[in-house]
Symmetry: C2
Subunit: 412 residues, 2 copies
């Protein structure tokens, strides 16, 4: 087509915001602060039987980053990136650009206004035009190697180092390491993917993709813990209120990570076929929970406090001492668990489903997770059915105010 | 735990149906017939700004299988299976079992009542307990090799054979062939995965997994064509009413496939990074559509009829003759397109996103697709940005009445 045709025939460009307005999608949901209020599984739906998703807009700004204490969404797109530059100024600029992009993405806007000039690539890849934000949250973290590469030696912290090798780990090189993580969560898979894609695109001169994984959760009525692919509820003792998050999650020492947290990710392959051939008694003994209700043995409510010393009327312990729940609880520390299921087609070696858990958790000190994983690593009956194949630790910055940029306290 | 403890401590088992009733989830949505009524993109949401998903229950029974004319869902789990038995009676029984399972799955029930005996594996894998059906549909099809393997020579049809090699095809062995396909679609990824997992599990003595792919769609307000990962709308000329489906989709000769259709699947890798470096003019010329509105060149409505002979005021053709829309339309046949996006982490060769389109379409005669694909194959500008890596053709049986089983007319 000639340029002349171009002028005549192309639609007048409208901004995505205008587009949304046209569709009556803006302003219906109030902005929700990302300041850590509310339990992970708060009742976020207004309907009784119908599930209402996506319309609320979450702010990128606040005391803490979003996507940590935010009630969990249906989808995640998690990306680990490698730095290909050691120029601090360039990287700083990338985080400034990412701040600008993230604010817009979380509002459901284009990452940049559409250009009148058709002879350049669109600034936004465009696959979310016309959609609401679907409760999109974007969470950034950096790894210990990031500090090394940028020679930020004075920002190092004793506790912030690569995770140890845990008993039975079978970590693959392709699923470990990396310098930066971006966690995009939303109630729509395309919205989450679009966010990471556009952020990566903006930084592509400075970064490459190390590994990524899409994940999903069945949110249901939003009041129960979503089931994993073994059909069980897990992580029912998550922080439930601001005070819990303060105690368990938010880093509170007075340095660049203040109001941030440590994100730990584990890619856990679940051997579904083996599990599916295991009898119900054994399955329940493995978790130490009833499958149907999700309650720990001896309780009826999934959210009941787990008491590892509890004995039945016959004087015997209620929880098997090699059960997942017993060993996790025995570590006597808490974490905020925000895990998603994944399914990646067929495992080429086994010919079975390649599926599992993209385990993500947040804690103010890595030792919280390390203590739990060490307790599980040797004895957990669940190890017969799972394999940890990926790992990562990232320091997620504190939240920022408008006018600041994500990571600012690290760079300045 | 001892059996004695078992009796004392395990929750009284309740059926999933009871569970749903308890949660107030049953009966809220009326059953929707699968008989082909309604357009693919019917307005399926009752809220204005909020999107309400999943609550409607779709019947497995009807004149046609569900998941073909059903308004498209947010998620698909598509599986291609290989037969490992040539015993017709065994396979027939598997389809009977699958019919029983599918009816229950689409109602949001367990595939079989939970057993009192804890010493056997649960019959249902359980990861959807407590969820509503999320508009689950399950669609079964068989390939030409299925007829060969079961020596059903008298059921063969001249038009039902493996697809030809199309220009520029780069089909991988792992993504072609197979004897049976199962398409599970739902507004929840875990519900779709659960359906295929439990069906495969039931038949595991007779079948193995060949390839599977999960896919997603941004449904938005349900009135617009969902955008693909290039940010474009495609397939806007889908059948819109019963008459269209009758003309385009439903097989109407008087044999075992009556009221069924041919499903064609193409796994299409999309080279996102290349596309993202292409200017907007070139992107729009490639599709022959405006990116923002989705309308074909020269029109303002995405659903406008495409007129390949239309000329602008300057007398020049409006649609580039190598554009996707021009060439698809030039073939002068219609299909029912029901495609989903996919993202599978990183392509290990390129280090870029492994993402694309799980293209699925339905037609009463394979030549409809073949004619379009031949028109596209040589000249479509879009070929610079995509690669077809997987392929399949399956005959999807007609619908059944309660008491019948899926595929019955083929076997008897």
């Amino acid at each position: 087509m000639s340029d002349e045709n171009d002028k005549k025939w192309f639609d007048k460009k409208i901004s995505r915001r205008d587009f949304l307005k046209k569709a009556g999608m803006v302003g219906a949901g109030a902005a929700i602060g990302a300041s850590g209020a509310g339990a992970i599984f708060a009742n976020m739906f207004s309907g009784k039987a119908n599930q209402v998703v996506g319309n609320e807009e979450i702010s990128f700004y606040g005391e803490h980053q979003s996507g940590i204490a935010t009630p969990v969404q249906k989808n995640v797109y998690f990306a680990v990136l490698d730095l290909h530059s050691t120029d601090k100024e360039e990287i700083k600029q990338m985080f400034k650009d990412w701040t600008d992009y993230s604010e817009k993405l979380m509002k459901g806007e284009l990452v940049a206004p559409e250009l009148a000039n058709h002879l350049v690539p669109p600034l936004d890849t465009g696959e979310t035009v016309g959609l609401n934000p679907y409760r999109l949250t974007i969470t950034f973290g950096i790894s210990p190697s990031f500090l090394d590469k940028l020679k930020l030696d004075n920002k190092k912290m004793e506790e912030f180092k690569d995770l140890p090798h845990f008993p039975r780990d079978q970590i693959k090189d392709k699923y470990k390491g990396g310098d930066i993580c971006i966690q995009a969560c939303a109630d729509d898979a395309q919205v989450a993917f679009h966010a990471v894609r556009n952020l990566v695109r903006k930084g592509r001169a400075l970064i490459t993709l190390k590994w990524t994984q899409a994940g999903f959760l069945p949110i249901g009525n939003g009041k129960e813990t979503p089931r994993n692919l073994f059909g069980f509820k897990d992580g029912t003792e998550n922080p439930k209120n601001n005070n819990d998050f303060k105690n368990v999650v938010w880093y509170d020492k007075n340095n660049w990570l203040k109001n941030g947290t440590f994100l730990i990710v584990r890619r856990i392959q679940m051997h579904l076929e083996t599990w599916d051939r295991t009898n119900l008694q054994e399955q329940e003994n493995t978790f130490g929970r009833y499958k149907e209700s999700g309650a720990p043995f001896g309780e009826t409510d999934e959210f009941a406090t787990i008491d590892i010393n509890k004995k039945g009327p016959d004087g015997k312990p209620v929880l098997p001492i090699d059960s997942h729940v017993y060993l996790a609880k025995k570590a006597d520390v808490k974490i905020a668990r925000r895990a998603f299921s994944y399914s990646n087609g067929i495992d080429e070696v086994s010919g079975q489903f390649d599926a599992g858990l993209l385990f993500i958790c947040f804690q103010k000190h890595p030792d919280q997770f390390i203590k739990i994983q060490n307790s599980l690593g040797n004895d957990d009956k669940l190890n017969e059915y799972i394999t940890h194949v990926g790992t990562g630790i990232f320091a997620c910055f504190g939240g920022i105010k408008k006018g600041e940029y994500i990571g600012q306290k690290l760079f300045e």
